[in-house]
Amino acid sequence: MVNLLALVPTILATAEGEEGHAVELVSGGVFADWAGIMLVLPFLAFAGIIFYGTRMKHLGAELAIGAMAVNLAWASVLFVSNMVEGIFHEFSVEIADIGVVGDHNLVFELGFIVDGLSIMMYWLVAFVSLLVFIYAVGYMHGDVRVTWFFASLSLFAGSMLVLVGAPNMVQLIIGWEGVGLASYLLIGHYWEEKENSAAAIKAFLTNKVADVGLVIGVIVLGITLGGFRFSTLNQAAADHAEGLAGVAVAAGFLLFIGAMGKSAQFPFHIWLPDAMAGPTPVSALMHAATMVTAGIYLMARTFPLYQNLAMDARDWMIPIGVITLFAMGLLALVADDIKKVLAYSTVSQLGYMMTAVAAGGYTAGLFHLFTHAFFKALLFLAAGSVIHAVHSNNMSDMGGLKKDMPYTYWTFVIGSLSLAGVIPLAGFWSKDEILATLNHEGYVAFMWVAVLGAFVTAFYMTRAVGLTFHGSYKGDGRPHESPKIMYVPLVALAVPSVVAGVFNIPGVSLGPIGNFTDWVGARVVAMGDHHPEAIEWNLAAYGLIAAIAGIALGWLLYGRDAETQQARDSFELPGLYPLLRHKYYIDDLVLAGLVNPIKGPIARATDWINTYVIDTIVNAVGFLTAAVGRLVYGGLDQRGIDAGFNALAGSAGEAGRALRLLQTGKVQQYAGAFVIGAVLLVAGFVIFT
């Protein structure tokens, strides 16, 4: 097998575009050379906050925000440069030698990759994180453990940057696990309540189960290719390398299992709604730019593998994505907790992205990720603003907030419309592209499910808007608009939620900056996905009609007069309602079928081992230590060392007692001694000379 590493150009590369013309990629200059700084800064901020945060005015938020602001500026430069000319720059430094496996010497490398995909992610993570951090200063004001909260947020964003900047799969796993750890810390931020820490554990463990797939997949690919670099993998996939072809489907599916965990695909979605236990800024960050996008990112990063070799894995991936997008959307219909509505909505939208990427829509999936990040962060932050005012997560405690919270209301409506896919907001264009991809690739049935999903999306978002902002207020006290530091980020997110769609209207290129397709297409290996040349108005009409129908129905049921709203909200379809209310019984199934049968015996076995094995060892060690101590004290110290010192001191005393008798005090005796001495000296002098 040829050395695949040699095939990979490191600095300057050209790639075959879809139409066959070469896409020139430039190295990107100093900002690309030093892009690794973006990966390091949040960790420096993390350390700074840990050590100095409590002494600062805003308890360390300054450092987190500062680091992210630098990152955003840096990423923006790259982002704009990449619009004009595609950038590719890869940097790796060898950290350790793993050893020889088969014909290859595997090495562990760290570094960063700067290309269209990672630049988009760098920018998105920095942009959303910065706004969320600023918002969190207001939201977390006076809360518990604020310093630790911002330290964890920095860790979270930093891990995500390490993940998206990874030039090889091992570094990706490091970032992947870092994200998992930080999410665990943040979900369990209010750990005083049992269910919050349980939610954190659930998120962590569910991810861990899925991570097994990722790790095995990476090992398989690493051994097959002789290296962990994505460039190696993608080039080999594009060349239909023989060794890779044999394992591609299995490895692709294993990677997909990992992605299912992070991106909350059915049936690994169970952790995401529970992850709402964390503070709302965490939810916004987790659902928009970091964490859940990691799985989609992985699928996009390894896209050539699925496009060229692992086609069979797609037969599983697409149905899972479609189940996720539809079934999880339905769950949002019955949730009372506003954050859970948004959480199920995220799962559903992740289903869209996964379906799109799996169906061959590299750009479509990423574009939906891009637009979704804006409006989902916006919706979560707006929901946080409402929760901040009402002091409850439940929509049954809200209602009629439209007048009291104008900024929150209008930004929430913009986010909802964008999510529902109303023309010309961002969500419409990205969802339309997914429909177009499914249609073009021949998955027409799935396309219709996606259209139905759009209807459900529009419906539950209208329900959320109606229950939260219209009708009559049902909570305690009088709600008020949030402080400026909280609604300014909302407005800042509302702008791209409206306009981000123009960057990828099919067939429209924005002069010198091209469009989103070109931006994320700036990669060494051509993606070879389909781009519609013009808007397919019939598909757009399906999506739009579904959205408008959903909004209309939602408005009819939940939007109108206050008196009947409550009665309508308690309207329950027999059969379907209990099913949805219990989340299809999946959680119960997992608990009864998987967790409890394992938990009991493991607990008992651990207890037995603890009592009989570990305790015995500990006791033996303790006994041994005490015996050695006694020996050393009694034998060595008391009888050996101490005796020696006592003898020395005693002999010195005896000598002193004997010698002091010479000091009689009689002057004449001294004089006699002088004389004798002098005589002896003189005698000696006379004799020896």
């Binding site: 000091q663 009689k666 004449q668």
Partner: protein
């Protein structure tokens, strides 16, 4: 030889001083004995100078130094003895044990 006679005289005088220093109990007598020893040394110095004739009359000058130092020493010594007489009503050296441990 005239030098030998001076040396014999000096050694006799020195021996007498040593005897007095060691044997007499009275502190004043002990001091006198020390003066005798110093006088013996002076005789030696002057005798050698008279015989050898150095350029700068070293022996004689040195003896004058000795006499000066001896005078100072006797001044201090007698002062000490006087104080001891006053405080202890006895000038006997063997009864003094102030320097004992």
């Amino acid at each position: 030889m005239i030098l030998n006679q001076f040396l014999v005289l000096a050694s006799l005088l020195f021996a007498l001083g040593v005897y007095g220093l060691l044997a007499r109990r009275n502190a004043v007598a002990v001091l006198l004995s020390v003066e005798l020893m110093l006088a013996a040394v002076n005789i030696n110095l002057v005798a050698f100078e008279a015989t050898l004739r150095s350029t700068f009359a070293t022996g004689q000058i040195f003896s004058i130094f000795v006499i000066t130092v001896a005078a100072a020493e006797v001044g201090i010594g007698l002062g000490i003895v006087l104080m001891i007489f006053r405080n202890r009503t006895s000038g006997n050296v063997d009864e003094l044990d102030l320097m004992k441990w």
